[in-house]
Amino acid sequence: MSEPLLKIENLHKRFGEIEVLKGVDLAMNKGEVVSIIGSSGSGKTTLLRCINMLEDYDDGIIAIDGETIGYRLDGGRRVRRREKEIALQRAMTGMAFQQFNLFPHMTALKNVMLGLTKVKGMDKSEAEALAERWLERVGLLDRRHHYPGQLSGGQQQRVAIARAIAMAPKLMLFDEVTSALDPELVNEVLNVVRGLADDGMTMLLVTHEMQFAHDVSSAVVFMHEGRIGEQGAPAEMFRQPKTERLADFLRNAKF
Amino acid sequence: MELQQFLSEVWIARNALIAGLGNTLAISALAIVAGTLLGILVGLAATYGHAALRVITRLYTDFLRGTPVFVLILACFYILSVIGVQLTAFQAGTFALALFCSSHVGEILRGALQAIPKGQVEAAKSIGLTFPQTFLHVLMPQALRQILPTWVNVATEIVKGSTLLSIIGVVELLLAVQQVIARNFMSLEFFFLAGFLYFLINFALERLGRYLERKVALPT
């Protein structure tokens, strides 16, 4: 079997006294869609943020395509990479946030174009064409000159996804992308995510939408108190949980 | 040694410096107290007065806040004597600072009073309080807590503004220091001393304000 696209080994992360990740191992192949479920405080979001180096991690390895993220090993010692390098590594993964985090002072189009011009160094017309293609893909081409403040939550999240995808990441990270949305806006965003999955995009999602996780994932990971509690194919996970904890969690979760 | 020389110069000038410091404190205290009392009236008129009174207080505060303090001081100093009000430079300058203070206190008090939810007045009415009672027991205690931090800022502005009286010949701290410098030419050291003393006064004011804030803060 070939090298996995994402490989996490023995990942540890502390915030001061509190250890949030207590040794996480995870591997993902290209084209896989993995959903992380678990109660709040179990470390799901922190795991995603470490993969994108929005948080430094304290121990262990995160590697994408065999390249260690954020740190390199120098004779057995972990050395933090330079900011410039980390910035380029971040561009290998795309991230969609719970709160969208669109740039409020830029139109939808400019939001998508910024990374293309400033990180990928595309010229303006090329970036604009690409940005328009992705906005069209998420169904918002007609809103490209709107500012985030003029868009609904669902529309903002779709622009945010287009902004991340346009960078052609090897791996997309979705952090509870529907949690901040009104119920009637959830589906328009999930449909976009489902479409990307159908295209074969490699995706790691943190989600509370159990039905969606069940339908879209090739594997589901249940996190509990900073560790992986259980993982497997969605059908088994949801129908025959092996651990009492997962069974408990699923009883209280909404479908 | 230079430090020794500076300290001995300070010692020689101690009486003049202490007198100047005393004047600065007196000017500031008088202006702050008088200005605050006047400002409370202005704030009340601006919030609860009839339409005409509100327009007048608006003009009053806008005019005083739009004019530089220095111009206010010069204007009071020159104009009052021409219209037959004989004031010393000390009195005219302090009066100007008090006017300046009143316009700011009036404005922040108006803001604080208007920010109190209407429901408070209605609740007071419904338990049978008259407006003066409502004002005294319900509105003012809230408004005063609210304006305390800004009021301390205004007070420090007054202390700093008191230096401008030196220009109309009031021997407060800054002019006292300048007179000392004229004798010994140690401008660097003595301006530093002046700055440091003002810093101490304002720092003390700020601490006092923080202390009061904590003391009157409502438990949450």
Binding site: G94, L102, G149 | -
Partner: protein
């Protein structure tokens, strides 16, 4: 009060007053421009992880904000030459005002930076921008728009503070008003016109800046 108003001499010297007003505006503009550079640098210092930077920036802000501007002006003009730094009247005044403004603007920018949602910078990093790029394209443009109203207030304050340039004989509005006052004894007329010029200018600046704020506002 028997005072006969006669604005003749004031009108005859009106162009002098206007030239003084223009100089004041120019001084305020240059000072706030330099002050913004100081303020931005120190504001980033105040939110940085480096303890020394944070301490230095907050010492600057606390010291300058509690020192009267007149002390700084006199220090720059009369005491700096003792250190071998000889500045002209205008240069030393602009330096003083810029240093003074820098302290206030540091607070404005710091508050603006702290108020930004963390997600703004993070979303930039997530698409691969470096810290410097995220600052330049995201943090700064959004923060500057948010603090524009405070910047406007500071500019108006600074404009009023330019009246203090008269203390070292820089020929701005207050300087000419004093001159006309002393030469003509048309005391009330002179100060009334001078005050009104300040008040009106403040109004116009405020209106223009509000207009600019509206045009630069992020559509919502």
């Amino acid at each position: 009060m028997d005072y006969n108003f006669n604005f003749g001499v004031v009108w005859r010297n009106f162009d002098l007053l206007l030239s003084g007003l223009a100089l004041g505006l120019g001084l305020a503009l240059v000072s706030i421009a330099i002050g913004c550079v100081i303020g931005l640098a120190l504001a980033f210092g105040m939110v940085s992880r480096n303890r020394l930077l944070r301490a230095l920036a907050s010492i600057y802000v606390t010291a300058i904000r509690n020192t009267p501007i007149l002390v700084i002006i006199l220090f720059a003009y009369f005491a700096l030459p003792q250190l071998g730094v000889r500045l002209g009247k205008i240069e030393s005044f602009v330096a003083s005002l810029a240093i003074y403004a820098g302290a206030y603007l540091t607070e404005v920018f710091r508050a603006g930076l702290v108020a930004l949602p963390a997600g703004l910078r993070e979303a930039g990093l997530a698409i691969g921008l470096t810290e410097m790029q995220a600052r330049r394209y995201l943090t700064l443009p959004v923060m500057l728009r948010n603090v524009l109203p405070s910047l406007s207030n500071n500019f108006i304050s600074l404009f009023k503070d330019t009246s203090l340039a008269a203390a070292i004989a820089v020929p701005e509005l207050t300087f000419y008003a004093r001159k006309i006052n002393v030469e003509s004894f048309r005391v009330i007329e002179t100060w009334l016109v001078a005050s009104l010029l300040y008040v009106l200018t403040c109004y116009v600046i405020a209106a223009l800046l509000r207009q600019a704020e509206r045009r630069l506002a992020i559509p919502a």
